[in-house]
């Protein structure tokens, strides 16, 4: 696997960088003009999002330059940081220690190693089957029965979201789509762009016309107006990017819709976890907020679905009734 230098890729990267420059300039001007505290906080938040965008596009460019091995390493590192944030946020007891060591230093590298080797069958079952069995076994061996199922589930969910789900993003590079070889990096870029556009426009539309909250107990910022506007905008822009993907415009529309929907679900679910922990344990709220996981939550949930949908369309043998 080696990425060809690619005119389309340069165009889209150029467009994203141009967009970011405009956004950063705008954010700078707004920050200088902001007067009330409330506005200032909102604009700081906006600027944090723009910075996150810069980082993500930087990461993507690096992984494009150094190829699939670099991307795998990069995402393995992102998983490590995400798992670190997650474990810091949850409670764990002394008896969980060895199990956590296994999660960080065995399952995480192994997951990415399997993808890198192109061992699809192993990569998709390592965590949901073997790690999920191993974790309760290891906890049982540690001998502490207090809250056993809770503790096992917490660690399992951490591996699931932070390692397994995130690993689907670089796994896109291992798809060998006929007629699209060497261009898989654009699929990853497509995923990241649509997810982020959806996040950004949900936020923007939410500020403009968000009134009714979707889940006030979980997140005060998620409104129906923001949700519909954000998803619609992301789908429209995603469809417009069909030329960089192996999809037809209609397929690109469907994919964008699936990505945006799952991205929203990811943000909501991870907010629920944060809210839950925030109430129970103030000690870790500061570290747990505003980290890798906050920025990755929507990718966590959309990457697996996007991967499997794409694989279904282009790789899997289809049943007879499929047109």
């Amino acid at each position: 696997m080696k990425f060809k230098s690619d005119q389309q890729m340069l165009w889209i990267l150029g467009a994203v960088v141009a967009g970011l420059v405009v956004a950063s300039a705008l954010g700078y001007v707004l920050a200088r003009r902001a007067e009330s505290e409330e506005r200032k906080a909102a604009i700081d938040n906006l600027n944090a999002r723009i910075r996150a965008w810069w980082i993500m596009i930087g990461i993507f460019t690096i992984s494009f330059v150094i190829g699939p091995a670099g991307s795998m390493l990069l995402f393995a590192f992102i998983s490590l940081l995400a798992l670190r944030e997650y474990v810091s946020l949850i409670t764990s007891t002394r008896a969980d220690h060895r199990t956590l060591v296994w999660s960080f230093f065995v399952f995480n590298p192994l997951q990415y190693w399997f993808w890198y080797q192109g061992w699809y069958g192993l990569a998709i079952i390592l965590i949901p089957v073997y790690a999920f069995l191993f974790i309760p076994i290891r906890l049982a061996l540690a001998g502490d029965v207090g809250g056993f199922l809770d503790r096992a589930a917490r660690i399992q969910w951490g591996l699931m979201v932070c390692v397994y789900c995130i690993s689907y993003a670089p796994a896109l590079l291992t798809l060998q789509i006929p007629g699209y070889s060497g261009q898989d990096a654009k699929l990853l870029l497509f995923l990241v762009i649509v997810v982020q556009l959806s996040d950004v426009f949900q936020y923007v539309w939410g500020k403009l016309l968000g009134k009714r909250k979707i889940a006030p107990a979980i997140s005060p910022h998620k409104t129906w107006g923001g949700f519909v506007g954000g998803v619609a905008t992301a789908v429209a822009l995603g469809t417009g990017l069909w030329w960089m993907t192996p999809f037809s415009p209609l397929q690109a529309l469907g994919m964008s819709f699936a990505i945006a929907l799952m991205g929203f679900a990811g943000g909501l679910t991870m907010s629920a976890i944060k809210r839950d922990r925030g109430v129970k344990d103030f000690g870790h709220t500061i570290e747990g907020h505003g980290g890798i996981l906050d920025r990755m939550d929507s990718i966590c949930f959309s990457a697996p679905l996007f991967f499997h949908l794409t694989r279904w369309l282009f790789i899997s043998p289809h049943p007879n009734w499929w047109p």
Partner: protein
């Protein structure tokens, strides 16, 4: 951990106090002595003639000497790493140290999550996020009793937990 957040200039003048029985073998000793410039002290004071007081006196003199005029010491007043669920009772060493050197400031420092990074008896750490919280220096009365000094110190430390 605590050492790593101190500025370099302060670090050079700061010595952690560690238990000799744990830190005295091979690699551990080399790390403790060379990297951290640790001051190793006896923990289980059991001299041959059973003279605890003299042995404790000797340890205290070592600490005072290391403190000197411009150095700092990092002391772990619990004397051990407990289960990590709450702050354990303090040993009386810091009280005797304060009585000898009332001019020295006692700064409480709370280390969160350390027990989760590396529980007692484990050798592989888990990279959990930790936090080091410094409190204002203790202000004991000139003739504070041992119990009330230790309680004050303990409370000051526990107060840092929830900041």
């Amino acid at each position: 951990m605590l050492w790593s957040v101190l500025p370099r200039s302060v670090r050079e003048k700061t010595r952690p106090v560690a238990a000799r029985d744990y830190w005295s073998s091979g690699l551990r000793k080399r790390i403790a002595v060379n990297a951290f410039n640790a001051l190793l002290v006896e923990r289980h004071v059991k001299s041959a003639n059973g003279d605890r007081a003299a042995a404790a006196r000797h340890t205290l003199e070592m600490l005072l000497e290391a403190l000197g005029e411009k150095n700092s010491l990092i002391v772990f007043p619990e004397g051990t790493r407990g289960e990590g669920l709450q702050v354990g009772p303090f040993k009386s060493g810091i009280y005797y140290l304060w009585r000898e050197r009332p001019d020295v400031q006692f700064v409480p420092v709370y280390l969160s999550n350390l027990n989760r990074i590396l529980p007692k008896g484990e050798f592989l750490p888990v990279p959990v996020i930790s936090r080091v919280t410094f409190g204002p220096p203790l202000r004991p009365e000139p003739n504070e009793s041992k119990e009330s000094f230790l309680t004050k110190a303990h409370d000051a430390l526990c107060g840092l937990k929830d900041i």
